[in-house]
């Protein structure tokens, strides 16, 4: 049994030393060079912090970023990626949670890193990437890793206004990667086109398929997603065979009419996740690329990216609603009622997940961890933790799971998970906002903020732009004299929804 992801990197680096591993617009990196860089960086970090330490990483959309991540792992540590384009206030929140003593940045992000409330040491990748590897030290560090050691901490929206850091272990990641690879038949001939930001959970496939199976990944420049002709040209030039994209990313080319100009000629597999797929867009993909394998994935970061999958065999129509399918290998799904009893066959209940793919919890937040990861109430014989997703679903007679939305106010917008409560907590900090309610108009994928007070809408948007990630900025702001209420005093959201247009 593998003890860490480093077992895999050692193997692929040996077998594919000369092969291209990661490529971006400007450069490329072979497996051999990648491995050398992780050892150089790992040696540098190992001389700075003890094993088991968090290493914050702020690095751009290029081939060196995965080497920063794995460099931290070589040092017996785990990494916490941060998106340098996020507002400083958000980055400072993340720093406050992860409390790292060491941050690794690329040269382009040094200035940003220095402007944050970070007390530890900052090292620039380009300055340390020629550190002579200390093999004895690295072996010593690797020996401290076990399959349940943390691999990374990825941050997600928290309803109280502070982001939550989900901790994933080596074992969880490897279980997930192997399960998806089996469904998609991933091997060393596959070339992935990376869409997700590298600091985000959805990028783990693009990073760990190469490490695990000798596949390659091309990191697509961000602005090409706004230029459909350039996007498909890139997919063809790089002979991309597989895409693991957010639903929002899959929608984009279809929405912008990219198929009127061309199509990805080499594509064999497309798996998507992050939100419910509107099938009028998937239909366009299917019409132009009928032989591609389409896979719908479902799952929260807390269960390592995705926990169920559905292979789309049928030709979809505009109104098709895709099931979320069956659990991946090593994932167990249980449905529970509100009172923690078993949901009867065929009925709708809360989707709960268990297995070795469960996250280690929320970093530095035992209280929230204990609330979300609980002993399976249906099992009083041995320890079995489950994660309550907050999502609702039912199993049909074939054991296929169908999704029925959220039981709380979490939404999926542009592939990101957002707590509407966090939008409201943020808005309430703005002078001139007395009361507010955030709602999501799903059909138009638009985030609304209704508010009272004398603040100008421009002022509110500017505050969000300066403090929150771009996907959390409300697109429509509606100023009201007062928020409508229900007899019990709670905000009447149904009335507010009549403002949607």
């Amino acid at each position: 049994m593998e003890t860490s992801i480093l077992n895999r990197l050692d193997k692929t680096a040996g077998a594919y030393a000369e092969k291209m591993m990661f490529k971006d617009e400007a450069s490329g990196i072979t497996f051999g060079e990648f491995n050398r860089l992780t050892k150089a960086v790992g040696t540098f970090i190992a001389n700075k912090v003890p094993c088991g330490s968090p290493v914050a990483v702020m690095s751009g959309r290029h081939v060196l970023t995965p080497a920063c991540f794995l460099g931290a792992v070589r040092a017996g540590c785990f990494y916490a990626p941060m998106d340098g384009d996020m507002p400083k206030a958000r980055l400072n929140q993340i720093i406050g949670v992860i409390k790292a003593d060491f941050m690794l940045v690329d040269r382009a992000h040094l200035e940003t890193a220095q402007s944050l409330d970070f007390q530890g040491e900052i090292a620039v990748f380009e300055d340390i990437c020629d550190t002579a590897p200390d093999d004895a030290l690295l072996a010593q560090r690797e020996a401290t890793l076990g399959c349940t050691s943390p691999l990374y901490v990825i941050f997600t929206s928290g309803s109280t206004g502070v982001p939550k850091g989900v901790i994933t272990s080596h074992q969880s990641l490897m279980c997930y990667i192997d399960a998806v690879a089996k469904v998609l038949s991933i091997d060393d001939t596959d070339v992935f086109g990376n869409q997700s930001p590298l600091d985000y959970i959805a990028a783990v496939r693009d990073i760990y398929f190469p490490i695990s199976f000798g596949a390659s990944t091309y990191i697509i420049p961000k602005n090409e997603f706004a230029v459909p002709a350039a996007l498909f040209e890139t997919l063809n030039r790089e002979k991309i065979t597989a895409l693991c994209w957010s639903v929002a990313g899959v929608e984009l080319p279809a929405k912008l009419g990219a198929f009127d100009i061309g199509k990805p000629e080499y594509l064999k597999k497309l798996c998507f996740s992050g939100s419910v797929m509107p099938c009028k867009y998937l239909k366009i993909w299917q019409e132009h690329l009928p032989d591609v394998l389409y896979v719908n994935q479902y799952g929260p970061t807390e269960a390592t990216a995705s926990c169920t999958y559905y292979v789309v065999k049928e030709k979809v129509t505009d109104d098709t609603v895709l099931p979320i399918g069956k659990p991946y290998d090593n994932y167990k799904v249980t449905l529970l009622n509100e009172d923690n009893t078993a949901t009867p066959a065929g009925s709708t209940g809360e989707i709960c997940v268990s297995g070795p793919i469960l996250a280690l919890g929320y970093y530095g937040n035992a209280e929230q961890t204990a609330k979300s990861f609980i002993q399976n109430p249906l099992n009083d014989n041995y320890r079995e933790l489950i994660y309550k997703t907050g999502d609702l679903g039912h199993f049909d007679e074939d054991g296929v799971l169908h999704f029925h939305g959220r039981k709380d106010r979490q939404i999926k917008h542009l592939g990101h998970r957002i707590e509407l409560g966090e939008i409201e907590e943020t808005a309430k900090k703005i002078p001139g906002v007395t009361d507010c309610c955030a709602l999501y108009y799903k059909e138009k994928a638009t985030l609304y903020l209704f508010y009272t007070g004398e603040a100008a809408s421009k002022q509110i948007v500017l505050y969000f732009r300066q403090n929150m990630p771009a996907f959390m900025v409300p697109r429509k702001l509606i100023s009201l004299d007062s928020l409508p209420t229900l007899p019990n005093g709670k905000t009447d959201m149904q009335t507010l929804k009549t403002y949607f247009k």
Partner: protein, 75 residues
Amino acid sequence: MEELMQILEELRPDVDFANETALITNGVLDSFDIVALVGELNDAFDIEIKPNNLVPENFNSAEAMMKLIEQLQDE
């Protein structure tokens, strides 16, 4: 032009559309901004922006967008 500026201002009040000349090239507007913008411009100016029109040169500045709108209105 006034109508265009109003749409842009509402879409991204944090961007200086009067002076920016590399909105796409420098990633000031992202793909999701473009999707929203294309929809609004099509409705407001009764035009149909085609995938071929979605190149950085047509969206890098407010002025370039205006030129594209006028060109499509003439067609």
